[in-house]
Symmetry: C2
Subunit: 399 residues, 2 copies
């Protein structure tokens, strides 16, 4: 048995970083990874802009102006946002201006209308201003040629807004990793089918598929295969070319129907490891088939869920360069009691908030999925633990 | 001017909670809110299940068994997962069993194959077992009729997996709130258009639209309107019936082109408030038109972004009952210097991690959007602040 970290290392070495890019519409780019630096095609703002409603003036003309000693200027025109005043503000002159409008040539500041008499032909100023005080300079946000967003940036809403503001409508991003899912097991039937004795409904395929969706990745397909090594081999041979990563569930233990060992031989795939020193989900199998990493998770739902976090997410992070896909580790104060010790490292589902972590009241068995609902982390319990007590500081892997 | 909290209260009172439901396919239900309790249609597991590969036996038959004093039992059959053994395990008998297979009648535990001689006709046991030790009881996870998921649950991947495991393929959820977006301003042109002097590209529509998408809500439409009160009035009259919430940007200050005041009169809409005591984005306007809350954000990008968090998200939370939409407040240690004080409460974009919060190095002006990229919170600075220093404990609103 190897450690989780060794398994991740073996898998990561075989996980090629996705270099292919695609140009997609800007709004579709949300959450995706920039494939190139985005440089500004123009200054932002593209012109000196008024930050308020008032009068564009030369600051020196307002010297000494106050409520009791107003300065009077001639109003030579008006400019609203979206328009341009073609003239020039000379000494003793003002232009009525609205927020967002270009500040006319000659003016070096804008007096707030509330500090004037709102005059139309002539205006009285009640405030003395300094040059460029109320003045959004051209290029204040960025200048043409500046790198706005670096290659590798995960596009958030502010990045989308920033690119839109620079006039862009398409974005060049790395393509998403393609992940295929196959559940195995003669006992597993699809939800909606008529139940028969000995059968269970397929929760793993939906659990893992939905988990990928939570991470922003739609599985390219979700399939099921019976416990027949030849069938599974054929399926993988046919479909592996369509994906960057294959995740299977079930068939990895030591029973007669644990077909994945045979499948690895039949494909043939290169086996990386079998079994990791962890509870639940120890009998996980890692392999590579034609450059596609294959992670064969335990059929126990929580074992599958746990190893998805521990093994699949780091591979997705390696493929995309998106560190967020790896999950974040924090420490937290344990609020509860968990009296089960053990020689093997154990991951326990939990709920983390503000530095504290709780666990569901019961039902920690690896076959039990329902108590995972609402959990947002796993507690990483070291080997040879004597259990956990309230107040213990624990390591937590956030989902 | 009223406070943020007063504005939220005024808006929330007018925000109807969405009661309409829709049945959608299970995988589409991820992130949606359950409209009814989900009760288990069957026991889970639906039969007593073997947790391992070995032999189903009566525990009492193993009494005293050890490596040096094996107990020998007759193997009367075999059962794999997905099949059912029709007979009964009697005294002195065993059934070869695989993980996940139903434990045959008569047996009350399963001995791990590694603790036997793997016998086919007869098997030697090297371990003494207790009844129900290696035995997943029928209904161990849940029993038929148990409430699996409560109405109001936000469906995460574990919930989707749990419902799939109960055989379900559709889920009854509340419909999503329908949000419409309109940006205003004669100076605003759509990304991709040819730039002309005095014009800027529309960042707000994309910023807010993408922010909604980040929260799992696609805007139903994203429109633009020129600074013409009659046109905007007509647009809202025509489109308001299609949405639960209308968000606009621009036109809310005191200038001649701040059309939203006229629009509220012309519709007519009921004005709830104008201006909140906050920087940036003070001149925000709240109204209700035909039962649809209308939130008119400032045209300054960061003002719009900030008030989206402060005002729009609580309304979405009120409409959906989804507390997560509100954003979470935490305290954090400030890592940096922000020397600008002020009499008005201020929100500062920042990056929060593990109890610490940083701010972008510069460019805090409300018209500047690019420095919001990568931020994940806002720092809530109280009125009459003298600025912030490294080590100050600050209130933070997480995005």
């Amino acid at each position: 048995m190897i450690s989780v970290e060794e398994a991740v290392e073996l898998l990561s070495v075989c996980s090629h970083c996705i270099k292919e890019t695609e140009k997609i519409s800007l709004m579709e780019g949300l959450g995706r990874t920039l494939a190139e630096n985005v440089t500004a095609p123009m200054d932002q703002p593209p012109f000196p802009r008024s930050p308020l409603d008032g009068y564009a003036i030369r600051a020196e003309d307002s010297t000494g102006a106050a409520t009791k000693s107003p300065v009077c200027l001639e109003v030579i025109g008006e400019v609203c946002a979206g328009r341009v005043f073609s003239g020039r503000v000379g000494s003793g002159q003002a232009v009525r201006i609205m927020t967002g409008a270009p500040i006319p040539a000659g003016a070096d500041t804008v007096i707030k209308q509330e500090n004037t008499d709102y005059g139309e032909k002539r205006v009285n100023l009640y405030e003395s201003l300094v040059p460029y005080g109320n003045y959004c300079a051209r290029g204040e946000d960025y200048c043409r040629g500046d790198v706005l967003l670096e290659q590798g940036t995960i596009l958030d809403s502010a990045a989308i807004g920033t690119m839109a503001g620079a006039g862009m409508t398409v974005v060049d991003v790395y393509r998403q990793p393609r992940v295929g899912l196959i559940s195995t097991g003669d006992e597993v039937i699809p939800p909606g089918a008529v139940w028969q004795p000995g059968k269970i409904y397929d929760s793993n395929l939906y659990l893992i598929g939905a988990r990928l969706k939570e991470l922003g990745l739609d599985p390219v397909w979700m399939l099921h295969c019976a416990d027949q090594p030849e069938k599974m081999t054929e399926l993988i041979r046919n479909k592996a070319g369509e994906v960057d990563l294959l995740v299977t569930t079930g068939g990895v233990s030591v029973g007669k129907k644990d077909i994945m060992h045979d499948v690895v031989r039949l494909l043939p795939a290169k086996k990386l490891f079998w079994k990791i020193a962890v509870k639940p989900g120890a009998p996980v199998l890692g392999a590579v088939y034609k450059d596609v990493p294959v992670i064969c998770l335990s059929g126990n739902p929580f074992g599958a869920a746990s190893n998805f976090e521990l093994l699949v997410r780091p591979v997705l992070a390696a493929m995309t360069g998106n560190k967020k896909l790896e999950g974040r580790r924090v420490t937290a104060v344990f609020e509860g009691e968990f009296l089960k010790g053990g020689s093997i490292r154990r991951f326990l589902r939990g709920y983390y908030e503000d530095g504290h972590v709780q666990i569901p009241e019961e039902k920690h068995a690896s076959g039990i999925l329902s108590s995972l609902v609402g959990c947002n982390c796993m507690i990483d319990i070291e080997p040879d633990s004597q259990g956990l007590h309230r107040g213990d500081v624990v390591n937590v892997l956030l989902f």
